[in-house]
Amino acid sequence: MSVLNVENLHTYFETDRGQVRAVDGVDLEIGDGEIVGLVGESGSGKSVTALSVLGLVDAPGRVVEGSIEYDGRDLQSLSDAELGALRGSDISMVFQDPMTAFNPTQTVGRQLHDVLRTHESGPVHPLVRLFGFDHSKEYKKRVIDALERVGIPSPEERYDDYPHEFSGGMLQRAMIAMSVLCEPSLVLADEPTTALDVTIERQILSLFRNLVDDLGTSVLWITHDISVVAALCDRVVVMYAGKVMEEGPVESVLSDPQHPYTKGLLQSVPRYDEPDRELYVMEGSVPNPIDVPSQCRFADRCPEAHERCFEAHPRLYPTEDGRAACYLAEESLAMEEKL
């Protein structure tokens, strides 16, 4: 049973210079309790995919096509109020930079309290909130428990601290505490460790792993760091220029990538066990997202590109245990059928 099922998602931005196709026909499925890694370079459409799920794409961006199904419900047909009730409670999101993701003039505890209060007793009039009449000891206690669970020392005192009084790692822990406060069934984590030190990154990864095991939450982990995917995820989806290039179980995609882009991505990661290997450098750069040609998005940079690749972008063809958007995958599929 899948928690989230995104099909043929198109999210475009209308700009003065033309239409930017940030997400251009993405399929994404996340199973119950599964951790799916969404990998890609900057600008490949990873974050926009996640924001589209929650209906958080800001103007001039817009989901122009596709279906987003959560728990069997079509998210695009929901009203603002229904979607609001879902956000942070059923599906929550962890953002990249915790230092800007929190409101600088409200205490961290109070911001978590607001989330809990909103989903348990509903929104209040701004004046009620301004004078703090909505504050409840019970919610405060639960927020402190949540802060303790993510490993924040002396959470009672930290409850009244402001974001700038936290370190980046501690603040990201607080954000994670906020994301699981209402025990959601899906967490969208948008590069949550990119702004942190490597040592802190490891701590956050194991914290996440434990939370997921405890709560049975599904996770979409967005990253550009393929080593994080190897350490954390069950399945991986590789995106490039708004398209899904390859997907499959982490072990098979990382050990035997089918798509030339995934191969290049893996070869450009330095490895300490092969110190003499020269790092692979992918020729060219990400195509301009405005006025995209109909050819394969990766064709211009692909070492294995042939005539067909310049005619149309390939659909996803099944591979051994995943899928790849490459004509090479189709050819090997055809070969197998012949045998």
Binding site: L56, R87, G88, M93, F95
Partner: protein, 327 residues
């Protein structure tokens, strides 16, 4: 709280050199200006000997630095000298006028905030739509309209018309009553001048708030709040507005100093016996002790409103800390 107290004391100590500088400038300006106060007091027909006699009595024949030292020594004890024209102590004159100016300043501030807050917020939330354009045009009008003209129009259109057509005499044509004397009459009498004076400030503040809100609604934390289902009302009025108002406080605070300094023109138009009117009369009469006193008062008002702004800012923005090791 202790930090704040320490900070206030530190800032008050800093105010001493500022006021010293202001007093020096005021003193020099008045004494370098052409015209002899002694001659002015005695009139054109007085003999040179009479004028010299008076100059001696007033201490005007002494070197400037001696005069300044004397002025400073007296000022520290709260004695700003006597008015040349009326012979009354300058301190008494200022204290007698100050309540009118304070009443006008506070009322103008209230009027301007009452206009600026809602229009600023609405303009930002409806950016690019009709409400926004209308409020921006009105703001432009508010800034470009001379306030003496607005004052005259208000007197003619509101006060005179109401009185002559409907017999409603709530708005006086001239003068102002203090709310401490008669609350109802006081409020009505301050309404028109406060409106005339507050409009320009309202336009300024409205633009600040609009810009502040626009800045804040694009911050990441707003997206976070939205991603966690916080209601739009709470996001706008609790999360965004507080942060958007912070920079506005600086502007409003500085304007407060200017308002206390007395609005010379509005006080003249409405015949309000405040500091501004006193300043004008004293300048025409070359009553330099009074002018000096008013300049000092205005400087002090600016120092005080600056301090007030800084303290308020620190209480609203947790990122600001006073003094201490980590400042």
């Amino acid at each position: 709280m202790n930090d704040i107290l320490q900070y206030i004391i530190k800032r008050l100590l800093w105010a001493v050199p500022v006021l010293l500088g202001a007093s020096f400038v005021a003193f020099i300006m008045v004494h370098l200006a052409p015209g002899d106060p002694a001659r002015l007091m005695l009139g054109e027909r007085a003999s040179a000997a009479q004028v010299a006699q008076l100059r001696m009595e007033l201490g005007l024949n002494k070197p400037l630095y001696v005069q300044y030292a004397g002025f400073l020594g007296d000022a520290i004890q709260g004695d700003l000298g006597r008015s040349i024209r009326s012979q009354q102590p300058v301190t008494d004159l200022i204290v007698g006028r100050l309540p009118y100016t304070i009443q006008l300043a506070v009322a103008s501030l209230v009027v301007s905030l009452a206009i600026a807050l809602p229009t600023g917020i609405l303009g930002a939330l409806r950016k690019g739509r009709l409400t926004d354009h209308v409020s921006r045009v009105v703001a432009l009008l508010g800034i470009s309209m001379p306030n003496f003209w607005l004052g005259l129009i208000l007197i003619v259109v509101v006060a005179v018309e109401l009185s002559s057509r409907f017999g409603i005499d709530v708005f006086p044509l001239f003068g102002m009553t203090l709310v401490t004397e008669d609350p109802v009459e006081g409020i009505f009498s301050v309404m028109l001048p406060a409106f005339a004076l507050g409009t320009a400030l309202a336009a300024l503040v409205m633009r600040m708030i609009r810009g502040g809100v626009l800045d804040e609604i694009n911050q990441s934390y707003v997206r976070t709040a939205r991603a966690y289902g916080i209601s739009e009302d709470e996001i706008t009025y609790v999360y965004v507005l507080k942060n958007a108002i912070l920079p506005t406080i600086t502007v409003v605070g500085l304007q407060l100093g200017y308002l206390i300094g007395g609005s010379v023109i509005i006080e003249t138009v409405f015949g309000i016996p405040g500091i501004g009117q006193l300043a004008i009369n004293s300048i025409f009469a070359q009553d330099f002790p009074v002018i000096q006193g008013i300049v000092l008062l205005v400087a002090a008002a600016f120092v005080a409103s600056n301090l007030f702004v800084d303290v308020l800012y620190g209480m609203l923005d947790p990122r600001i800390r006073y003094g201490g090791e980590n400042a």
